[in-house]
């Protein structure tokens, strides 16, 4: 065999692809940032040109100023909202996965209880929340319950789907090797369900924030320990629109943080083996 010259050749197509990849990488960050800046400038110009008073639409600069000035109050409220959201998410994970495991153990259990879960899911939480605050005295427990109702269903339904998606041949193999129910769950069904569960978790993270905020609107004034939703209501009564925007900004930031955290968790757990986390080399 004659040795080919060991000169790295970057043909035209490869060079074009490499360039496209480089542009892609920069664009992924630059485009959204650029659009955001443009949107803020347009917002500012609209307010200035139309001479819109600040109690109707504040300029973006004023929103940032308010955020900085009121940061003590607002961040304390953000912590409260975050706490309720995370607790609700934790309870949703425990409840959703626990129920899914029960469902996977017995078809009859699933037949009997799945409809309840669906009804709970399809009924808008805003319409259940007032009832909850009548029956539940503790405000925190009420808020948690509302957020949980919204958040647990995607985890339940995704995990159930995952537990039932085990490879048939693998299930046969486990039977041949005399696996117990517990072994099958632990070594076969739970790992199979993991990607499905993580998909549900990402949805549930966002939903539990929505649940926490909506529940707080319904619960109304709460005095000490009020979350961001309460701050928005309060600022609205005082026509402090800039503060409403500042609180809104914080809620959006919380949502982004939750989404990023669940995405990161998903990536870390799946990167070794799951197709969704593997970058194509070609």
């Amino acid at each position: 065999m004659s040795a080919a010259p060991a000169k790295p050749i970057l043909d035209e197509e490869e060079a074009r692809l490499a360039r496209a990849r480089r542009i892609d990488r920069i664009g992924k960050w630059a485009m959204p940032a650029l659009m955001l800046i443009v949107a803020v400038i347009v917002w500012d110009r609209i307010v200035v040109i139309n001479e819109i008073p600040k109690y109707i639409l504040p300029r973006p600069g004023l929103v940032v100023e308010t955020l900085i000035n009121d940061f003590g109050t607002l961040s304390a409220s953000a912590v409260v909202t975050m706490q309720i959201t995370l607790m609700a998410l934790a309870v949703a994970v425990i409840g959703g996965v626990g129920l899914a495991v029960f469902f996977a153990q017995s078809r009859f259990f699933e037949m009997a209880f799945y409809p309840f879960a669906v009804i709970l899911q399809v009924t808008p939480v805003v319409s259940i929340a007032p009832l909850i605050f009548i029956y539940v005295d503790n405000r925190l427990v009420g808020l948690l319950l509302c957020a949980w109702i919204v958040a647990f269903f995607p985890i339940l339904s995704n995990t159930t789907l995952g537990l039932n998606s085990t490879d048939h041949n693998l299930r046969d193999l486990y039977r041949i090797y005399g696996a117990t129910r517990w072994q099958r769950l632990r070594y076969l069904q739970l790992p199979t369900a993991l990607p499905y569960f993580l998909g549900g978790l990402r949805i549930a993270g966002g939903l539990s924030l929505i649940g926490a905020v909506v529940a707080e609107y319904v619960a109304g004034t709460g005095g000490i320990g009020s979350g961001l939703a309460f701050r928005i209501l309060e600022a609205g009564y005082r026509l402090n629109i800039a503060r409403m925007f500042a609180a809104l900004l914080l809620i959006a930031a919380l949502g982004v943080v939750i989404f990023a955290a669940t995405s990161l968790l998903s990536h870390l757990l799946l990167r070794k083996w799951h197709e969704s986390a593997i970058k194509r080399e070609i």
Binding site: L173, Y187, H274
Partner: protein
């Protein structure tokens, strides 16, 4: 895989019985007769190929032997009873757990017996080196080629040194070069482990090369139509593949298969 070199397999007819199917019927949903009156005596050290057209009940026979379902009538008896770890199975797909490394996949039969990994680490390493994957303990299945995944699957089936290994068209999805290589390696393994194999295949050539007994099956209803013996001694090499004797045996087996399929056509008319 025991340290003491196992005794060579005695010739056909001098082997100890292992398993017997007596008049086994299997009817699905009370209407589809997958097997009717199937008789088969499996002896220790046999390499049996089940050969037959699609739908003749080969997989059904294997699933019955594996205990994944019960015969509608008839009996399946193990000489000396059946214990956990007596069976190893290889399916058409490698059927590996994608979230587990190669070594963890091979560990599965022991894990389900409740044995800690450290205790069987050596046996896992030996099984993996027997299939030529000693450098892939830590790899994940997605990093392996189709043939390598199949090797992992074979290592998992034999790591417990089972009395019987069932293989359901294990190489059907592989390319011919890989299949030939795996055929040779499988015979090497059998030589080293002296194991008993029931091997389902569609390929006349594969069945003649691998086995010493070929059970030809016919469809509708599924049953044994003929049995052939391949008297060529092991070890068999590439020379056997190109020999006149091999061609002759393939011809005979092919004829027997055509008879089985002809019977089927008559039955359908």
């Amino acid at each position: 895989m025991s340290p003491a070199y196992p005794l060579p397999i005695p010739p056909l007819g001098h082997r100890k019985p292992l398993l017997e199917l007596g008049g086994v019927d299997k009817v699905f949903n009370g209407s589809v007769t997958a097997l009717q009156g199937m008789n088969l005596k499996v002896a220790q050290g046999d390499f049996i190929s089940l050969l037959g057209p699609s739908g003749c009940g080969k997989s059904t026979a294997l699933r019955l032997i594996a205990g994944l379902m019960r015969p509608s009538s008839g009996s399946i008896t193990w000489s000396g009873g059946q214990a956990q770890g007596d069976l190893g199975v290889v399916f058409q797909e490698p059927t590996l757990m994608p979230w587990a490394t190669v070594a963890q996949n091979v560990y599965l039969p022991f894990r389900l017996q409740g044995r800690p990994f450290q205790e069987v680490e050596d046996r896992i390493a030996r099984a993996l080196s027997l299939v030529g994957l000693e450098n892939f303990h830590k790899a994940y299945p997605r990093e392996l080629s189709g043939g390598m995944k199949m090797r992992v699957s074979i290592a998992r089936a034999m790591v417990t040194e089972p009395r019987l290994i069932l293989m359901d068209e294990p190489f059907a999805a592989l390319d011919e070069i890989t299949r030939h290589k795996l055929n040779n390696d499988l015979l090497d393994l059998r030589e080293k482990l002296q194991c008993t194999v029931i091997f389902v295949t569609h390929s006349v050539f594969e069945s003649v090369f691998l086995s010493d007994r070929i059970v030809v099956m016919a469809a509708r209803p599924g049953r044994v139509s003929a049995e052939l013996q391949v008297d060529e001694p092991y070890p068999r090499s590439e020379d056997f593949r190109t020999s006149a004797r091999y061609a002759e045996l393939c011809h005979m087996t092919s004829d027997a298969l055509h008879v089985a399929m002809g019977e089927h056509q008559e039955a359908a008319e």
